[in-house]
Symmetry: C2
Amino acid sequence: MPSPPTVATPAAGLHPDDIVEVAHRLISTHGLEWFSMRKLAAALDVNPMTVYLRFDSKDDLLDAVARRGLASVELPELTGATWDERALSLCVALRDHLLADRNLLALYATANRLSGAVLQAVEQGLRLVEEIGYRDDAAVLAFRSLFWHTVGFTLLHNSFESFPADQPGGIDDAVGGIDAETHPTFARHLPSFTAVDGDELFVHTTRLIVAGLAGNAPEPQEHR
Amino acid sequence: MPSPPTVATPAAGLHPDDIVEVAHRLISTHGLEWFSMRKLAAALDVNPMTVYLRFDSKDDLLDAVARRGLASVELPELTGATWDERALSLCVALRDHLLADRNLLALYATANRLSGAVLQAVEQGLRLVEEIGYRDDAAVLAFRSLFWHTVGFTLLHNSFESFPADQPGGIDDAVGGIDAETHPTFARHLPSFTAVDGDELFVHTTRLIVAGLAGNAPEPQEHR
DNA sequence: ACCTGAACACCGTTCAAGT
DNA sequence: ACCTGAACACCGTTCAAGT
């Protein structure tokens, strides 16, 4: 080996992975809004500018944090008597993982390169659609319907929680009073506009897509 | 007329609606990231603090801007030979409206009280599901599947555009090389992981949901 | 009563200067 | 070569002071 390390390891041995790990923990604990490059540096006990020697910008760093969180997805083996049930359970498991770290969710929403990073989900999703005969481009399209449906609904989760029906005044107040003349159907259904149950709506909609994929499949399974 | 305007009209007659309109225009033109309370005040030719006499905080103001943009949704009369086609065209029209003002999209993503503000879409959506027999809570659930599916996919639109397959290096590079041993199915399908066509994927998935809603309907229509 | 200027406590990022 | 301190150009928001 060459000369001994007379040179102090850069930034006290500050490895990019360590920065990403600490940033992940801070965001997970305090939220994305709280997080700043200066607070990260303080947590690392380092000059605020040192982080910029490893990452070009805050956006770059956040992208790395998001990819780290997504790559760590590990899904359970899929169980279920029917294909439909297994497909549903994959979507639910992926959603649960994304929701597990609620403060990271806002980050995933803006992360580039999202789907490729969720390796486990891609692998299992593709295997699933192959089971019922989807191949090549058709398999990827079928997988993508399920995958992006799940991601989209998951990102909406916070919107459901702040739904008008949950607020004082309810939905009628929120939209400034619904005019029964211009929107009669809406007005008639107002009593049914209770708070959205995000879990229920997700499962309901996922079942529709799953049934559609199974019904159109090249090799539909029996006992569905 | 009474005394001449010795008293300057408050903030030069600054009405909350005017503030919201100018904020909307600035965000639409320059983007949400560019926008700030100070720049808004400059555009209004007013002291930065004057806006705070009308809105408690930046978040409050942005919420008002988002609701203004959503309340203005006007959808075309639905045409189409079959129920499925009309349901699809409603979803596409809503998505087109949300995508029309791309810089506002980021705002909608965080807006509270989203669905109630899209009056036109709610009215037409409920009318549509009633056509095939959905009533009361079942009608609202069916509508919500369509509505939130559409909103979720629309919010994802920017993610599709930054998909790895579009980047130099492609998807394989983006996830650090896909291991054929641990993710064989993914590896085998890599050639099919081209850029996501957001429009195509949306229409494809919407058709699955629409068909599911029609198939499960209390009064399924003929000639579908 | 209504508005403003200055100030507070922050940001992300650049860059000349230190070791 | 590697790191840092000070500085730049901003933020959202508070509040005492003006008219």
